[in-house]
Symmetry: C2
């Protein structure tokens, strides 16, 4: 089996920065070496002027909603929701496919290699992810037929999604790129019996659950009025956290709910940009960290973001809490980078990805550091002199200055999917044209209905 | 005089989006036409796949501090300040020059055409800005010789800076690219008599003042303890607001101080990313808007940001308040774009720049909209059908999805300074090399002192 060897100016590893770095992986896409450049080893790709880091993990998105980018998002929450739903009810399977492909184009370009998604999924859509080379934890969005309070989201109903989830989970059980989850939308859209049934099935079959929890103050008030409990307490009473759960948003968790999610090993997803833009609030990341929660970082859909660039979430997810708490040490960029990579990969079900270390899967991205916003970079002239300073410089750049536009190469499980700014697995130009046409058709359908 | 004519897919004007747009300006760099493309007019630059908007205005920065990018910024405020000061005390004039040039490279690349700066300035540095083609409101940072509480910032003292400010203001009085301001650092670093003297001189000579006000809770407490007043009340008692003032940060203004600044026509600068990253808090932009304050948007220095990309500030400055107030309508992207352009230009002293409208100066940037994060864009197929929807789509893209990396062309006063990603007035490659060398020398000096 052929080994691939990357050389770069520096590399982010669990132990800190490695300067004058070398990463090697075998034909199975498994890292065999991650350290200082070795004498006498010729690199396959000499990436001078670049740094390497693990591929980013998007902990919560609805990828096909790229088609709804920028819909009515400057007038408040209700006009936005109405506009999204007016378009969404006209989505065809072909639309979902091209929206997913557009999302993968954007994710790869901005350095994301794995994503946890909740939307419409079937075998054909999963095969698009396999062809693109990405990893997905795909949750089939579901609402019980009698679902309450979420009009306009039509084609998916509970029974179908549940059966299809289980069939897909079996079909792709051995695929290292694919995990399948139940996707009950939220406690306010799924009745208790429906959630209880999914919890029992999830526990029995070992299939995880991806759901929204405590996204808005309005949701918390509604659940408390309806069930006399907070959202996480309510879900706990239905047995949900006996299964493996990924809970998105969790903006308004109480201390008791944080303790509950920590005790049950529940993974959460922090979506700072979406939570801000939609006016939902600021999740309590410092308390999550103190409680030892399993945490990932997500963009949510582009309809509420409006990009899939996780570098924005990394910066916002670091500085937001510093400002809100008036404490510049309360969240560290180094920790958020860890959440966006190693801990995120673990949270969404790919624990063998997420770190540049021998034995891990080679999900790795290379960022150009020759541009203005990377100058001066601050690595020591002699890397032996001050490894802590080199680590601080690399973390600072990746946490506060880098953006998705700096990403030039992406490897996923050793497969080169993006080379010097060119896609190797997706026809980006054609996908953009088809996505624009799909949006035009959706807009026409919405305005004539 | 030759006219220059730009064609683009759309253009942001004070009246909303113009689709299929044309912008013309004369040899004096003054806009002669801004509207729909005219039949029979051949464009000088056919920018298909681009949108036009006014050049961005950075309302508060310390540009030469690009050299201190990424210094010790993940450990809290005091270690950061100590590390910045350890390097800054070794800055030479040559360092300040190359730091300024690096900042201009980055600003132009990310679409900024004017900036309000507070640092070390002299005629040679001003000439660098003139050569680059940008507009600057340059404030000479000053502290009285007996200044309190801000160790490490050495070479600038009050008397010199005051005299030099006045000489430079006279020297460049007629230059449309240059304004000169007094730069008394802050109420906690400048004693009352020093500030009173500057206020009187500013009022007498018509030279504006650029200062920091109410950046941190610690500052407010210190000023209240020392003077028995809030920072703005204290400055008001010294007569400062009888002059034209640009007050940066203003994070902790009381209702009374907001009313004071509105009544005195004082301009403020909102720096959301810096305020968050340094743990200073969240300024009350919604109240500023309600009070009718003159507002600009700033990055602060890259040491506290770590980029000069104002598109980040536009997005953060919109969504931050929505999240903090749990109200998705409390700040609109359309308003923040206006703050970053027309209102910002007015606030920093270039009222004839900042809008794409006949009679204004041609400070205009072109952004590529063929990429993934601009797809689908959402303009109507036929621009006659729904101009409001077209405006909403353009504002949404510029407010929530665009980044500095999308900027491809920059014209300032009609001068083409950045063409299809290439600098026409600055030798970017050489500047980056010199900046990296300067930083290495500063680091060596700091660690051996």
């Amino acid at each position: 089996m052929t080994e691939t060897i990357l050389r770069a100016d520096a590399m982010l590893t669990p132990g800190g920065a490695v300067v004058d770095a070398e990463l090697a992986f075998d034909g199975d896409g498994r890292i065999t070496y991650a350290g200082r450049a070795r004498n006498g080893v010729a690199p396959t790709h000499d990436l001078a002027g670049h740094v390497l880091m693990p591929g980013l993990v998007n902990g919560h998105t609805h990828s096909a909603m790229t088609l709804l980018r920028g819909v009515s998002d400057d007038e408040g929450f209700m006009p936005w929701l109405a506009a999204v739903q007016a378009l969404e009810q006209h989505l065809t399977h072909e639309d979902v496919a091209v929206g997913l492909q557009l999302a993968m184009v954007e994710m790869i370009e901005t350095g994301t290699t794995s994503f946890a998604d909740m939307y419409h999924w079937d075998e054909e859509l999963i095969e698009l992810v396999r062809a693109a080379g990405m990893r997905v934890n795909a949750a089939l969005a579901s609402f019980a037929p009698e679902a309450v309070g979420f009009p306009g989201v039509s084609p998916w109903n509970g029974a179908d999604a549940t059966a299809q989830t289980e069939a897909l989970a079996e079909r792709f059980a051995a695929d290292p790129q694919i995990r399948i989850s139940y996707g009950p939308h939220a406690p306010y859209t799924c009745p208790p019996e429906f959630l209880r049934d999914i919890a029992a099935r999830a526990k029995e079959r070992g299939i995880p659950i991806h759901t929204h929890v405590s996204e808005s103050a309005a949701e918390v008030a509604q659940i408390e009025e309806r069930y006399g409990a907070t959202p996480a307490e309510h879900l706990d009473s239905l047995g949900l956290f006996e299964a493996e759960v990924l809970a998105a948003h969790c903006v308004h968790l109480t201390d008791g709910e944080i303790e509950l999610l920590a005790r049950t090993g529940t993974a959460v997803s922090h979506n700072p940009v979406s939570n801000l833009k939609l006016g939902n609030g600021i999740a309590r990341l410092p308390e999550w960290q103190a409680a030892g929660l399993r945490v990932s970082l997500g963009t949510d859909s582009v309809a509420s973001n409006n990009t899939l660039d996780l570098f924005e979430e990394i910066k916002t997810g670091t500085i937001l809490h510093r400002g809100a708490r008036q404490d510049a040490a309360v969240v560290r960029a180094a920790d958020v980078l860890d959440i966006a990579t190693r801990r995120g990969a673990e949270a969404v079900g790919f624990p063998e990805a997420g770190a540049l270390e021998a034995g891990f899967l080679a999900d790795v991205i290379a960022l150009d550091i020759t541009g203005s916003s990377a100058t001066p970079f601050g690595l020591a002239a002699d890397p032996a002199t001050d490894p802590d300073a080199d680590s601080a410089a690399l973390v600072s750049h990746l946490g506060f200055a880098a953006t998705g536009a700096d990403v030039r190469h992406v490897f996923i499980g050793g497969r080169h999917v993006y080379a010097d700014g060119e896609h190797l697995t997706l026809d980006a130009a054609s996908i953009r044209v088809r996505a624009a046409a799909a949006r035009a058709r959706l807009s026409a359908a919405a305005s004539s209905s």
